[in-house]
């Protein structure tokens, strides 16, 4: 299992913090401070416990769907939200699509391949994404 004490890690792709990331702390000063397990609810049962994991990370696009002509660079900054044995939740400036397979690198520097499970608009500026490790 990943070490949940990993905090804000270096993002090599985008040294300058994107505006949408800065906005997160403007709206919620403690955004990056949240720690510990996230309780599950009857409405949202989970197989494995999730932990808050608020951190910068890097996403590398590995396998773009053939019909999607993605213009974004192949490496982008993301903000992780939570982490479990099964997968990782994060915020991303781009819409991703269920079934896409890409790579996430957390602060420990280990690249992990994920498959996108869901993606929903979070704010005007970004999307919340659920992914599972593959």
């Amino acid at each position: 299992m990943l070490d949940q004490s990993i905090s804000r890690g270096p993002v090599t792709a985008n040294p300058a913090l994107p505006a949408w990331v800065e906005q997160l702390t403007e709206e919620d000063e403690e955004f990056f401070e949240k720690r510990g397990p996230i309780s599950t609810t009857w409405e949202e049962p989970r197989r494995f416990v999730r932990f808050y994991h608020r951190s910068l990370a890097q996403m590398d696009y590995l396998e773009n769907p053939p019909a999607l002509r993605r213009r974004a660079p192949s490496s982008l900054a993301i903000v992780t939200l939570d982490l479990s044995r099964e997968g990782i939740g994060f915020l991303h400036s781009e819409q991703l699509f269920p079934g896409e397979r890409h790579q996430i690198t957390l602060a420990d520097g280990v690249p992990r391949k994920v498959e996108i499970v869901w993606c929903r608009r979070w704010r005007d500026t970004c999307f919340a994404v659920g992914s599972r490790f593959v």
Binding site: W42, E43, P45, E63, P65, P66, A67, L68, R69, Q95, F97, P98, G99, E100, V117, W118, C119, R120, R121, F127
Partner: protein
């Protein structure tokens, strides 16, 4: 795979496809509407006319009255039914584009039923490809007035009839919006044919449930656009518009739809076409928990949601098709 309804064993056919003067090569059934049978769960069917009966014009008029335009045959008789339509289409030559359309549609339906009994995604994709090519061809060779087409549809919400209906409505709407290239129309029809592909993952008991789904069931139902997209996203033969028909047909212009909650500027135009066709068919079909709405009631429902759920310009085009036809 839940393409087959809980009423396993029977499939709906439109009365308007039956012809007088020739013996029927299959038995005809009607759905029983008794409260008692409803309470027991599941539908019940009674034999209405047995095979070899020669239909009269009076019989057909009576069917329309009694069965709201919809009769049933046994699944096992679907090949006989396809052959019957083929013979009727040949006898009427090229005069009748509606009958030719019906023949194409029945062939697709029979194959979909076959796929439902154990075929995989590849088989469903192949059938949708054949159906879209044939449907666009039959629509090109003669006018298909939407009100006549509406009369031909089986207004019974089984997944396989639903996808045939939605693809036909999508074709009609796309054409009236000015899309005329056959290749593009074929893609739209195929996208509509596959729009509920993800429902294969939903247990039949949930899909055909009478009454409101629980929160968990609702979550399962809401996953179908994502599950459908996941099946197709890396297949190179699909265009982005087709994939978005599968993924975005439950999105709303105001951003309150699912699965992504994206707003008007982010919903692909083909998905907007599919959304209108999808809800139009769902509301005009018989469901275990409610009677079908009339065309007028359905159009006014859609109009009430113009701009918030549905694209107002596309919807105007759709409603005007019915008004022009009157």
């Amino acid at each position: 795979m839940p393409l087959a309804p809980t009423t396993a064993g029977y499939m709906p056919i439109a009365c308007s496809t039956l012809r007088t003067g020739a013996p029927l090569p299959f038995d005809l059934y009607v759905r029983m509407e008794h409260q008692q049978t409803r309470n027991r769960g599941g539908d019940h069917f009674a034999l209405y006319l047995s095979r070899d009966h020669e239909l009269s014009a009076r019989d057909i008029a009576e069917f329309d009255d009694r069965s709201a335009g919809c009769l049933y045959i046994q699944f096992d008789a679907s090949i006989e039914y396809s052959g019957y339509l083929q013979r009727c289409a040949e006898a009427e030559g090229d005069q009748n584009p509606l009958l030719r359309y019906q023949t194409v549609r029945e062939a697709a339906k029979a194959m979909m039923l076959d796929a439902a009994r154990g075929g995989g995604v590849d088989q469903v994709v192949r059938i949708s490809e054949d159906f879209s090519r044939e449907l666009v061809k039959s629509a090109a060779s003669g006018e298909l007035p939407v009100r006549d087409l509406f009369g031909l549809m089986e207004h019974d919400y089984y997944t396989f009839t639903h996808v045939c209906n939605v693809s036909t409505y999508s074709l009609v709407l796309a054409k009236s919006l000015g899309i005329s290239a056959p290749a593009e129309l074929e893609q739209i029809v195929q996208g509509a044919m596959l729009h509920d592909l993800g429902k294969r993952e939903i247990p039949a008991a949930v899909l055909n449930k009478r009454g409101r789904p629980t929160a968990n069931e609702w979550r399962l139902i809401q996953r179908h656009p994502s599950d459908g997209l996941k099946e197709l996203i890396y297949r190179p033969e699909f265009s982005w518009g087709q994939l978005m028909m599968v993924y975005q047909h439950h999105e709303k212009l105001n951003g309150r739809g699912y699965p992504a909650g994206v707003g008007s500027g982010e919903i692909h135009p083909w998905a907007r076409i599919c959304a209108i066709a999808d809800v139009f068919d769902a509301l005009t079909c018989y469901r275990p928990y409610r009677k079908p709405l009339s065309t007028a009631e359905t159009l006014s429902y859609l109009e009430r949601h113009a701009g918030t759920t549905f694209d107002p310009e596309f919807l105007l085009c759709w409603t005007s098709l019915f008004r022009e036809d009157r």
